[in-house]
């Protein structure tokens, strides 16, 4: 039945070359097995990431010691980098779930080569995101009050607050992502269990694999659970960024109070997420010689999705302008005027350039298959999505209802310390991941191969 559904690729196969189950297994598991020959690039990237992680730790320490005052936040701009980065990271996470869940439900077989990688990205991105809501509070040591638990104060969280929704959404998202990822990992750990020579690694893999032995009965329940997990993750991933967008949509602030936010945030999230996947995948596939698994097809498809979501986001921008004009609400109209002509106008126009204009290059197939260009575009989009949150948060806050309370926002070195710190953390985790965990779901590749490989007869000839 899978075959009857549309195959995304028409001309080229999703797995190139003349493969066997063994060879496929070898390619992926080999990366983990042969710890010796990792590319130089790995070390460079890891060291870079690790360095930035130290910056992060420094920033956090100083932050907790001194208080939020070390950031540029003020009245009226009480939120800025902290929440920008939170939303940005959460967004990046979304690509992973989308690829692994939604594409699975849609029987998009090309997801197979990238879902493991994208899911890992999700988890690390959500980790980065999770730091901010915690650390941006004035008194992080009592942030646990956001959790509902019976206590001697007889106090509870206040469930009308989008921040409490965030707590539930993000923690649920984190948990489900990890479950999903781990479940997918178990059979591959079983493979590693059998293949790795190093005893310690073997035992580790053995424990991780939970004694998976590939029983047909297990596989059946496994697939039932896996597909339903996907079915759960799909609305979940949509809900998470919807709820994040509620942080703003629920308020009364011009530039925040917009009904378009949920869809437009979700699209933006996927947009940013795919950009990040490409940013990592393009070099990875070269460094780890997996071009035959992550083919130009994959790049092409991801670029297409990026373009699509990009257009939705751009539509969002246009609708915001329309609302401002159509509402005939002076505050809304001024908000838009301020974005265009106010002190932060350059950021707005740069945003339009990054998210609206440049991605249009991806209309042409030639460009979509030009790795350098796609890579560049993916970086531009990441920047653009960050700018979008900058426009939404500080730029809406700095001039609201009463002109007397208008102000300006200037980030401090510590704002950037936190931001680049989390980027470093993300990079470090990703590179640790590719080194110690199969970055492609081996059993799914086998399964895919078993269906799309040339007919058995031909194979026989080849063998003869």
């Amino acid at each position: 039945m899978a075959e009857t559904l549309t195959k995304p690729h028409d001309e080229e196969p999703l797995i190139e070359g003349n493969q066997t189950y063994a060879s496929l297994t070898e390619t992926v598991a080999g990366v983990v097995q042969r710890q010796k020959d990792h590319p130089k690039a790995w070390f460079v990237a890891f060291v870079l990431g690790f360095g930035l992680v130290n910056v992060l730790l420094l920033s956090i320490t100083y932050l907790v010691y001194m208080g939020i005052g070390i950031w540029g936040n003020n009245q009226p701009v009480a939120w800025s980098f902290d929440i920008i980065n939170f939303v940005w990271w959460i967004g990046i996470g979304h690509a992973g779930t989308l690829i692994s869940a939604i594409l699975l439900l849609m029987r998009q077989e090309w997801r197979t080569s990238i879902n493991r990688f994208a899911e890992a990205m999700t988890i690390f991105a959500v980790m980065c995101a999770g730091m901010y809501p915690l650390l941006h509070t004035g008194r992080p040591w009592v942030a646990y009050w956001l959790l509902p638990y019976p206590n001697i104060l007889a106090m509870w969280p206040q469930p009308r607050s989008p921040l409490v929704w965030d707590v539930f959404a993000v923690s649920t998202y984190m948990t489900v992502s990890i479950l999903f990822w781990y479940t997918g990992l178990v059979p591959d750990l079983a493979t590693l269990r059998e293949r790795v020579k190093n005893r310690f690694a073997k035992v580790l893999a053995g424990m991780g694999s939970l004694g998976w032995r590939g029983s047909a009965k297990h596989w059946m329940r496994y697939e039932q659970a896996y597909i339903i997990l996907a079915g759960l993750s799909t609305p979940l991933v949509l809900s998470v960024h919807t709820i994040v967008s509620f942080d703003f949509a629920v308020s009364i602030l011009p530039g925040w109070q917009a009904t378009i936010f949920p869809p437009y945030f979700v699209a933006g999230a996927v947009y940013a997420g795919f950009a990040m996947v490409l940013t990592f995948m393009i070099p990875m596939r070269r460094w780890y010689r997996i071009e035959h698994l992550v083919t130009m097809n994959h790049i092409d498809w991801m670029a297409k999705i990026m373009l699509t979501t990009g257009l939705i986001v751009f539509y969002g921008y246009i609708v915001e302008v329309f609302y401002a004009w159509y509402s005939a609400n002076p505050y809304e109209q001024f908000m838009m005027w301020n974005r265009w002509h106010g002190p932060y106008a350059p950021a707005y126009w740069l945003l339009i350039l990054c998210n609206g204009v440049i991605p249009q290059l991806l209309w042409s197939k030639k460009n979509r298959r030009n790795l350098k260009l796609v890579f560049a575009v993916s970086l531009v989009v990441s920047l653009g999505m960050w700018l979008e949150r900058f426009i939404i948060i500080p730029v809406s806050l700095h001039r609201d209802f009463l002109p007397s309370s208008w102000g300006m926002y200037y980030p401090t070195i510590w704002d950037f310390g936190m931001f680049f710190g989390t980027i470093g953390f993300f990079v470090m985790m990703m590179f640790l991941f590719v080194r110690f965990i199969p970055m492609i779901s081996i059993f799914e590749v086998r399964e895919l191969w078993s269906r799309i490989r040339p007919q058995r007869a031909e194979v026989k000839e080849v063998e003869a």
């Binding site: 001697i152 104060l153 007889a154 106090m155 053995g206 424990m207």
Partner: protein
């Protein structure tokens, strides 16, 4: 093939699963138990004092009224700690040579606040203290006829003063939500004002008068569950005193 794990591994695996759940849960339970225990609340823990002052002796055995020392308890938020002068008003006559009272006499002589003979540090160790950021007012509670023992436990029985109740927010709210639980009329002398009733209670104890179930519980500092009738009476008193119960659980009643 050489299997990786031996059969016993299965048992270990299952055990660790159980542990993974049990340990955190256990920790949380432990935490909440400790936080509610005297180790944290100091309930029933007597601190030492410059002078081992005995409420039991003074209030019941000698029958001194609370207000004699805690002068402002009916007037102000703070009940007031007796000045050396107050102590001396009696102890210049009796037990003038008791070494235990030396700190008092010394304070009086030097005109400096009472201090520990042992360490020379100044003042009494505070026993009953509401948590930080809480503004408690004695006078209004007394005016409403809330017995001292509601919060201070069996104070009139204590030789070494100790904290009577945990003073948790939950505990305060319990009363602020249902004041009728704590409001009552002394049936034997029903025409006392609520405030007089508060202090008459100790005279009754002293004279060994017959105590109602509620009064007994108060005397011992025990929890008391009022009967339906009593609650009804309590509600009437709430009406009569025009206590706006719904406002009693407002944050600003205790926090500012």
């Amino acid at each position: 093939m050489a299997r990786l794990f031996s059969p016993v591994a299965n048992t270990i695996a299952r055990a660790s699963l159980v542990a993974a759940v049990a340990v955190p849960v256990g920790a949380i339970v432990m935490g909440s138990v400790v936080s509610r225990s005297p180790a944290n609340t100091n309930v029933g823990v007597a601190f030492d004092q410059p002078v081992p002052f005995s409420h039991a002796h003074h209030s019941i055995e000698l029958g001194i009224d609370c207000r004699y020392c805690h002068t402002s308890v009916t007037k102000s938020s703070s009940a007031g700690i007796p000045s050396t002068e107050t102590c001396m008003s009696c102890h210049s006559q009796i037990w003038t040579d008791s070494p235990l009272l030396e700190p008092v006499r010394q304070s009086w002589a030097e005109g400096k606040p009472i201090r520990f003979a042992s360490t020379g540090e100044v003042g009494w160790n505070r026993v009953a203290k509401v948590p930080e950021f809480v503004y408690f007012n004695h006078s209004i509670h007394i005016a409403r006829g809330i017995q001292c023992n509601e919060c201070h436990g069996n104070i009139q029985e204590q030789h070494m003063t100790a904290k009577g109740k945990p003073f948790f927010m939950k505990w305060c709210l319990d009363c602020h939500r249902k004041p009728e639980k704590a409001l009552y009329v002394d049936e034997q002398q029903p025409d006392l004002t609520p405030q007089e009733k508060v202090f008459a209670f100790y005279r009754k104890i002293q004279e060994g008068a017959k105590l109602s179930a509620r009064e007994l519980a108060l005397k011992k500092g025990r929890e008391y569950q009022p009967t339906a009738a009593e609650l009804e009476k309590g509600r009437e008193m709430v009406q009569k005193m025009d206590i706006k119960v719904k406002t009693l659980a407002d944050c600003y009643i205790c926090h500012r």
